[in-house]
Amino acid sequence: MAKKMIKLKIDGKEIAVPEGTTLLEAAKMEDVKIPTLCYHQDLCVAGNCRVCVVEVDGWRTLPAACATPSMEGMVVYTNSPKVRKARKDVLALLVSEHSTQCTTCYRSTNCELQDLAAEYNIDNEIYINLLKNRTFTVDQSSWAIEKDETKCIRCQRCVRACAELQKVNALDVINKGADMKIATFFDTVMSDVVCVNCGQCINHCPTGALTERRYIDEVWEAIGDPTKHVIIQTAPAVRVALGETLGYEPGVRVTGKMVTALKHLGFDSVLDTDFSADLTIMEEAHELLDRLKRKLVDGEDISLPMTTSCSPGWIKFIEHMYPDYLDHVSSCKSPQQMFGAIAKTYYAQKRKLDPKDIVCVSVMPCSAKKFEAKRMEMNDSGMQDVDLVMTTRELGHMIRQSGINFKAIPESDYDKFMGESSGAAVIFGATGGVMEAALRTAYEVVTGREVPFDGLNITPVRGTEGIREASVKLENVLPEYSYLEGINLRVAIAHGLTNAAQVMDDIIIGESPYHFIEIMACPGGCIGGGGQPIPTNDEIRRKRTEAIYTEDEKKVIRKSHENPEVIQLYKDFLGEPLGEVSHKLLHTKYIRRERV
């Protein structure tokens, strides 16, 4: 049923909007920009910063446009003298409790408060600096996330992201009045609380209050050390977002340029996490088939559905929230960690290097990867497998620091070995991608035929719905997989931990009909990761996702098991999927963690 239309006047123009449209949305429809700070498309409305106030005829106060529904006959002014003065005052107040050390701030030039303060020409001296004579802390305890109270404007976007998108609730509001601030449970340091390091708080922070822990200087130092062989792996989702940090519109693929730039920066070898994503598919698809066999043929008590394990935010989430269900998680390491383990073993042998001299750097769309690399389990090569993890944003900084004219440089290919990849690996970056890649391989392993979808595009698993499901019927299977004949393989995909929790709750009550579930911690999957360029929103996630699928279609090899480097790796080194060497280097265990 069509919604009732509401007529109102905004800045002198009569418009009609569907009932329930806020004044902010109504203005946007008319291309009138109302400034905001606490508002974020991904989150529920808070209405607490009061920057978006507007004037309404007959109203005593100036309501917040983000929180006020359009009403019949309203006469709204978005830029009257009263509004401008109020906004300016509100901004000046925010500046008075904010550390205005913009010159040294990581978020400088990408800060919503800085932008508005400049736009409204805020006089820093109007009000008394409230940071003086008070103690504030910068929490650097976490491997992934830094929290700087002096830059917090208390908009609570992080709180809402943590609660609504992720259901983690690591951050919340404590105290009241002048002492009100964003903190963890009992104001404990970030490293000691139930935080999954996903970085959605960072990505939703309008200022520099929440940032990733940065390793730019350490990376430069390693590159500058002649005794070190520094290699870099780039995650699938980085190539479709990095451009945003370097002046491109969202959705532009900059893979080739990025590779050239990384070579310019001085990395000894520029390699691809996509290679190890293909490797992950080999192991994970076989693990799934193995689980099914042990359950159906051997009658073992095997936990199904199996869930993916690529997303370290998801891993820490299930470790904290559902520690009794860890055996549902695939034992496969994530592509980043598989890469590190292979780099410091096989790659080192092949290149005749001492693994101690290798510095394994990765660039990830993710902040949780920083934590993952530091996990105790992640040193199967005999040392820390991945040494330094940067976000897409940090790489953007490095490229800007290097003076490279990114737009002008040519494209080039990844180095060998561990630079080759399939389209199946690229789509790891989008929600549903791991599932699609796994199905392309598993189906073919079982039936000897390609998946029955046009152009290998398994469209039912794609999309933006928080939880999606699909099924593939296994018929005319190869003799060794006869136990799967006629089985309808049921799969589900969840992204955002709130959705993951819903999927888990179904498993707990025994009502999960699936065999295999892909779970990604961040909305949209890795393309919407906590390490991706800011801003990230629905529109931008959609553009990055489109770019990912285009990248897949442009690839000659579309299936993980056809990646020649992966085939060679099994032949020369690993033997077979789930084999002894694989088991040692590519699989891992999880930790039961406390809930508080």
């Binding site: 009061r50 106060t61 100036l62 003065k85 107040l93 409790e97 208390r154 009045g177 002492d179 009100m180």
Partner: protein
């Protein structure tokens, strides 16, 4: 000074009527008639905001939905207000009677008394009253149950949406309005939130009739109300008086012959200097010539020995701490006003800085999310404008 004695009213605490009988009679009338009566009486919320009570009940009555709630706001926290505590202590059953009436009109089955944390000594007494009240409800064959809910000490929870948030187990922070509680309140259901005193008046209007109630006070500010009188007065206490008196009349009777200012409505109210006593009436805005000031009942009298700087400083310290901290104008504004007058007093900022602060107070009135932040500027501006020299020297 000629002392013209103000007429006392005796409705709230009057014991020569049976709460049960009034209720029994009222519950036989059609709901619409009760609402009509309340609207006719002109009764406005006695907590301070002054929303027409009959209208509020009508709105909740017209909401569809099976679950509705009635909440008695007993989170009396406004500095200088101490009437609700006395009402609950002396005539708690009348409050419950008002709640029963509201439940009857709106079809609410559950009610709560949100009791200020500091009033926990009233719990045993209230529980006894509740027991008696629930027996009445059974006798009347009415399905309405009331429970006590203890506040946790935040001033802002007197604001109805914060109160509801806190009842839902969340931080006591105001919600965005609309929607209003009558539309989506406790647990998202239509909810009537009324002040303790208001509820008693609804019952007493049933008793004396709306016309008689309306005959007191003046147009737009009908009836009587309880005043919590404190400060420099020889007879502090709680008095029930007709609305509409001038501050001159008030001070003539309650002052100590040296009143230089009266703070009407507590820390969030207005400060009136002596020169304005004659033209200032107590009541809701509109209706009379001159100024009309509403109050939740707090009347603080200051004589010439008081420093208005200290008075204001005290209020601002209170607000700086009691702001929930959610919205920018209130959280930061309160700190700036406090630190600002300190800086002027110490000579670190020029006296002209007071004008910047007055403008800031105006912005807070316009942009703060709830009544708390919007009313900080009331006391600030009225004190700074009227006693500017005391701020500086």
């Amino acid at each position: 000074m000629a002392k013209q004695k103000l007429k006392r009213v005796d409705l709230i605490f009057s014991k020569d009527c049976s709460c049960k009988d009034i209720l029994a009679k009222a519950l036989k009338r059609p709901k619409e008639e009760i609402v009509k009566d309340l609207i006719n009486s002109g009764l406005k919320g006695r907590g301070g905001a002054g929303f027409p009570t009959g209208l509020k009940w009508k709105m909740a009555m017209e909401e569809k939905g099976s679950k509705k709630y009635v909440i008695c706001n007993a989170d009396e926290g406004e500095p200088g207000t101490f009437k609700d505590r006395e009402i609950l202590d002396q005539v708690g059953l009348k409050v419950l009677g008002g709640m029963a009436l509201a439940s009857y009109v709106t079809d609410a089955r559950e009610g709560f008394i949100y009791l200020r944390h500091e009033y926990r000594f009233l719990i045993p007494k209230l529980e006894m009253m509740l027991e008696k009240f629930h027996i009445w409800m059974e006798e009347f064959d009415i399905d309405f149950h009331v429970e006590l809910f203890m506040g946790s000490g935040a001033y802002v929870c007197g604001e109805e949406t914060s109160l509801i948030e806190s009842m839902e187990g969340k931080r006591g922070e105001p919600r965005n309005k609309p929607p209003y509680p009558t539309n989506q309140g406790y647990l998202g259901k239509p909810t009537v939130v009324n002040n303790v005193e208001t509820l008693v008046y609804t019952l007493m209007i049933m008793h004396i009739g709306s016309d008689k109630f309306k005959s007191m006070g003046f147009e737009g500010s009908t009836g009587s109300k309880l005043f919590s009188i404190s400060g420099d007065t020889p007879k502090p206490g709680i008095y029930e008086l007709e609305l509409g008196m001038t501050l001159h009349q008030f001070v003539s009777e309650f002052g100590d012959n040296d009143a230089k200012a009266v703070q009407v409505g507590g820390a969030s109210g207005f400060c009136v200097p002596r020169k304005r006593f004659k033209e200032t009436h107590i009541g809701y805005q509109g209706g009379l010539k001159g100024f009309s000031l509403p109050t939740g009942g707090s009347m603080m009298i200051f004589n010439s020995s008081r420093s208005m700087y200290n008075v204001l400083h005290n209020y601002l310290e209170f607000f700086e701490e009691e702001s929930c901290g959610q919205c920018t104008p209130c959280r930061v504004g309160c700190q700036q006003l406090l630190k600002g007058i300190e800086a002027v007093k110490r000579g670190e900022k020029s006296q002209k800085y007071l004008d910047d602060l007055l403008r800031l107070a105006e912005t807070m009135k316009l942009t703060a999310k709830c009544g708390l932040g919007q009313s900080v500027g009331n006391s600030f501006s009225s004190i700074v404008e009227n006693f500017r020299e005391e701020m500086i020297y």
